[in-house]
Symmetry: C2
Subunit: 358 residues, 2 copies
Amino acid sequence: MKTLTVDLGSRSYPIHIGAGLLTDQHLFKNIIGNRRPVLITDENIAARYLRPVADSWKIPESDHLILPPGEANKTLATLESIFDFLMKRRCDRKTVLIALGGGVIGDMVGFAAACFQRGIEFIQVPTTLLAQVDSSVGGKTAVNHPRGKNMIGAFHQPRAVIIDTDTLATLPAREVTAGLAEVIKYGLIRDADFFSWLEQNIDALQQLQPTTLIEAIAGSCASKSAVVSADETEQGIRAILNLGHSFGHAVETATGYQTWLHGEAVGLGMRMAADLSVLIGSLSADDAQRINRLIDRTGLPNQLPANSDPQRLLELIYADKKTESGTLTFITMNGIGNATINKGITDQQVLQTLEQFR
Amino acid sequence: MKTLTVDLGSRSYPIHIGAGLLTDQHLFKNIIGNRRPVLITDENIAARYLRPVADSWKIPESDHLILPPGEANKTLATLESIFDFLMKRRCDRKTVLIALGGGVIGDMVGFAAACFQRGIEFIQVPTTLLAQVDSSVGGKTAVNHPRGKNMIGAFHQPRAVIIDTDTLATLPAREVTAGLAEVIKYGLIRDADFFSWLEQNIDALQQLQPTTLIEAIAGSCASKSAVVSADETEQGIRAILNLGHSFGHAVETATGYQTWLHGEAVGLGMRMAADLSVLIGSLSADDAQRINRLIDRTGLPNQLPANSDPQRLLELIYADKKTESGTLTFITMNGIGNATINKGITDQQVLQTLEQFR
């Protein structure tokens, strides 16, 4: 087991990464102490992990809440059903919510913990690669509004993150690949050595080689932790975590969140960010080629969906909440491992980049 | 105009208190800068103040949201209608919500601001005495759950509090009296001089004498600010603000929140807290008499509703969220102006106190 710490003063917390942690009674007992755990998961995860986790961690069935799965249920209505459950079960401020599942469960349970009695503790137990390397760390919680993703939420840090790499063995290959997009992102934004390491180990990762997986997840979480520690509520530098996301979100929105996984859209978005960085002269063509070659090996998409309209995608980028007060904000690279916030990108440069990927 | 500061580091903010502030363009412009204000109020307040405020502050009608009034509407459903409005009006992170109204509006708009896009700014413009001296300061925001008051919420500090004492002229006398209960509370918990000042000025206050009002509100806000600065999220000392509230909440719950105003219940609760403090030997009988005499002059209640059952009230005190893990927590007084958190009160002492007020 590897343990990292997210350094946030009085709100600091550990990330434990290893095989078999889902049934590690000792670890769980150490974290939870004598607080009361309430286990919240979704129907899909429950079928596989509810029994072993609840048995190991000794959480009585009356304190299990199973939610409908999927992004479409990440709503205020589902949130309300969590509150109803907690009130009915007479939970108090000493209750700890356990978020067992992917990013949807983590975001929603985290937000419920942020609001219930003005804030109780919660533990992230992510079961997808994407959630393990990204959404479970850093305290961003939210539900969706019909008019926009993650529009209603809070910054609320977990008490601990428990990452069991065994859960990846049963994850569909496409979801593993999507998670790898975010892993590669950490190499691009602030860790050239990690990027080189990924070039050597990407095949072992795709084959889910256990020690390589633990190292990749730990490397990703370490980068995310460092950025979050520097800027918890995204006043500035934290935005570099959005590398590839402006392009990616536009593609997701244009395709109605149906055809592409988030990580796939980010994968294409990172290729575009590299292209844009070459265009503005901050990244060499050689480095862009290295980036594209690594992404190629994962099998992540290399072009826009058929019939994509660059002008329409540009409009969606403007409509994104990350585009404040009419100014385009992109994350570009000054070389591999050195991302920066760039407010000087023109519409023309965005359109030119999009055209390259039609 | 008097201005105080709530000292919370980077989240510090001013409280402006004076006559005519609701139409003070200059003050508002100074606070709001070039951010976009959205004005949220309820039907009752709108009838009286929406037009003059919106005109003075130049907030276009399309950015006014008028909610149904009253505690019964302080729900997740109303909160959702705020989010719908903000999304429909394409509000972004630079929007500032203006909460114009009593405690219900302040609590709900504050919570909406806490959650919208993970936190935007808001300004408290309280129009009742209770909200001016209590709920608008300190950042506690919430909505009710059918099974409990203020169960879903956040700590989210306003950017400023604007208190216009002219609004009290049209407040029903009973609501002024209820507000005075909280004013007296500040004298009891940490400011014996303020208590003495109240003994001399209570009649002028009830007659809404303008300079006396400003002084009383400023004294109350100063005390609340000091306590909030010391313990923003109620890990400890902030609980002294709950003097009289354990008893008071039990009465409110027993009467279904229909017959008593919150301040009235707190008024009786403070008499009980004084009685209990005498019983445990921490307050002299003379001081208890001074306290009761001052409360008498306001006309706040001096006995429990007819048919009250002390045993049932004790159960409600146990069910209150402030009673954690089965331990009774009361705020008692070591003399006037010196409240303390007391975890050593027995059921018997509570029952004996309740009996005195049947």
